[in-house]
């Protein structure tokens, strides 16, 4: 079972990003959960979302404390490294929306060597492809590059279902670009 924690801010689409990932996983014949951590429901406030993806039925109904992957869709949240890095498993992945190089990020935040760091400038990609800084979908591209837990086609199918028409196509382009542009270090 793969456990994922998303970090973003209220209104940025953490919940829909994790929902699309779960829907894509279900389309791919897997078992999946997507759930939010609802605190104060305020636009702009830091919040988390979660995924579990497995080949077997999932019976866990509790929070995730030791994720295999952490996705950060808003770079301003990197100023809370304790929360971002909390509990990441050895051999795990941190996938971040940032202009920084992954090596620089690793050094600056003191990220342990057992965690792989993936960096992509999803904000620029989103602004250029979707015309607004909606980074949740682009981060899906980076996510499946880091860990190919769901095939790209299933992700794109789920995105097109959730946002039919031109909006979906814009998001598809953002996902493909992020998949290509993400770098590991």
């Amino acid at each position: 079972m793969l456990e994922i924690r998303w970090h973003g801010r209220g209104g940025q689409g953490v919940w829909s990003g994790s929902a699309v990932l779960a829907l894509a996983a279900i389309k791919a014949g897997k078992y999946a959960q997507s759930f939010p951590q609802f605190g104060p429901e305020r636009g702009g406030a830091p919040l988390e979302g979660y995924n579990r993806i497995s080949d077997r039925p999932i019976t866990l109904h509790c929070s995730i404390y030791e994720p295999h992957m952490v996705i950060v869709i808003d770079p301003t949240l990197l100023k809370y490294p304790t929360r971002i890095l909390a509990g990441i498993k050895d051999g795990g992945h941190l996938v971040v929306n940032t202009e920084e190089e992954p090596q620089d990020l690793r050094k600056r935040l003191g990220i342990k060597h057992s965690v792989k760091v993936w960096a992509v400038d999803a904000t620029t990609i989103a602004l250029e492809e979707i015309d607004r800084p909606a980074t949740n979908t682009a981060m899906l591209g980076a996510l499946i590059r880091a860990v190919p837990v769901v095939p790209m086609e299933r992700i794109l199918e789920a995105v097109r279902e959730r946002w039919p028409g031109e909006v979906g196509e814009k998001n598809v382009r953002a996902i493909r670009r992020a998949y290509e542009e993400v770098v590991m270090g």
């Binding site: 929902a19 999946a32 997507s34 019976t59 866990l60």
Partner: protein
């Protein structure tokens, strides 16, 4: 093996319930939005707006009115659904008793949420436990799949001529309502066939309508009175009927569960309780709702470490399934009851029922663990430490009431 075609969708618990309602030939929905149930109401009103379902959606200004509208609609012969949570359920309290005593088969989904105050939107069971004594059948779901299955079964149970009682289907707020997961849905035709349409029974009321049989419903042509004054002359006989009917409802709950299992391939224990590795266990945890899914994982872990542990999830809480539960618990060394609620000044509500039904039957050591109030998480690590307390219960049987997952 399933008898009918099913589609696997990604739905959260609220969406799964709304989807079930869409398939169940419901005539009237009246509901007032409240977190974490709101998605149910939103989805149903969207289905109505988009013409995907032919039902009357009655907008109201409060939950008291929502259930009152359901009472009127149900008394007029409509298949009726509503949904609420926490404070909304509390506002309905007066009408809960009226619904059940008028023998109206309303189905209601509860997104379990801690009652205020302090204000909280997350899960515990004190809201539905506050409705425990109101004469409604209560079924607790473990996940979104079961919430879907339970709503479909609820209409059949409620409207069965030997039952005619309202049914509440519980699902944990956020932990089920907002958790998207794989949900297998039956096709519309199969559900429609399974639930059929509401059929109203016929009665004779010689004093008003002579020899003519009339439908037991509000009808201007053949007027009937529902819920008139009923003092010490007959009130107690009517309450006796409710007592007897709750007991007899078990047969129907079982029949409907088993018939649905044949249709869908999904069953939940014997329909009342779902044991997990309980037969040869010395130590058991018993509880309600989504936590019992997490408990299964912990049971597996502890079994690998060599501990003879198991669990039992209580699915039907009213009527209380003593015939199913007592034989599972009677011979164990120690049993922990997981209560996501508390009767202040006493124990958790599930513990009280289990203790009452085990009394005089040579039971195990019984310890009550109150947990998860207001959405406090119940991770595997905490469940494991609760199991350890059960395993050591012979050495440390006191205190009986233990609140776990709480600071200081």
């Amino acid at each position: 093996m399933t008898a009918v075609k099913q589609v696997i969708m990604g739905l959260n618990g609220d969406e799964a319930v709304a989807y079930a309602v869409k398939q169940c030939n419901v005539d009237v929905v009246s509901a007032y939005p409240i977190t974490p149930q709101t998605i149910i109401v939103e989805k149903i009103s969207k289905f109505v707006n988009d013409g995907e379902v032919d039902l009357e959606f009655i907008k109201v200004e409060s939950e008291h009115s929502a259930l009152s509208a359901c009472v009127g609609a149900s008394a007029a012969g409509a298949r009726t659904f509503t949904a609420t949570a926490a404070n909304g359920l509390q506002l309905m309290h007066e009408i809960l008793y009226i619904t059940s005593s008028l023998r109206l088969p309303v189905v209601m989904a509860i997104a379990n949420r801690a009652p205020s105050g302090p204000i909280n939107i997350h899960c515990d069971h004190n809201d539905s436990m506050g409705a425990r004594d109101s004469g409604w059948i209560q079924i607790y779901s473990e996940d979104a799949q079961e919430a879907y299955d339970n709503v479909i079964q609820a209409f059949r149970i409620a409207e069965h001529p030997d039952v005619l009682l309202p049914v509440m289907v519980m699902m944990d707020g956020f932990l089920i309502t907002h958790t998207l997961q794989n949900v297998s849905v039956l096709d519309d035709y199969a559900v429609s066939e399974f639930v059929g349409y509401r059929r109203v029974d016929m009665i004779k009321v010689p004093a008003i309508h002579g020899d003519k049989e009339v439908y037991r419903m509000l009808n201007p042509r053949y007027p009937l009175t529902f819920g008139p004054l009923d003092l010490f002359d007959y009130y107690m006989e009517h309450k006796m009927q409710q007592i007897e009917t709750m007991k007899n409802a078990k047969k129907i709950i079982k029949e409907v569960h088993d018939e649905y299992a044949k249709l869908s391939g999904r069953f939940y224990g014997d329909g009342f309780v779902e044991p997990y590795k309980a037969d040869d266990a010395d130590f058991l945890l018993v509880g309600l709702g989504s936590t019992m899914g997490t408990v299964k994982e912990v049971v597996d872990d502890l079994r690998e470490e060599g501990f003879k542990v198991g669990s039992v999830r209580v699915r039907v809480f009213r009527p209380f399934p003593e015939e199913s539960l007592v034989p599972l618990l009677r011979d164990k060394t120690a049993v922990g009851v997981l209560d996501r609620g508390i009767s202040f000044g006493s124990y958790g509500q599930l513990y009280l029922d289990i203790a009452a039904h085990l009394y005089g039957r040579m039971g195990p050591i019984l310890i009550d663990f109150v947990y998860g109030l207001g959405g406090r998480d119940m991770p595997p690590s905490l469940i494991k430490s609760v199991f350890r307390e059960i395993i050591e219960a012979e050495k440390n049987p006191e205190p009986v009431l233990r609140v776990r997952g709480v600071r200081g």
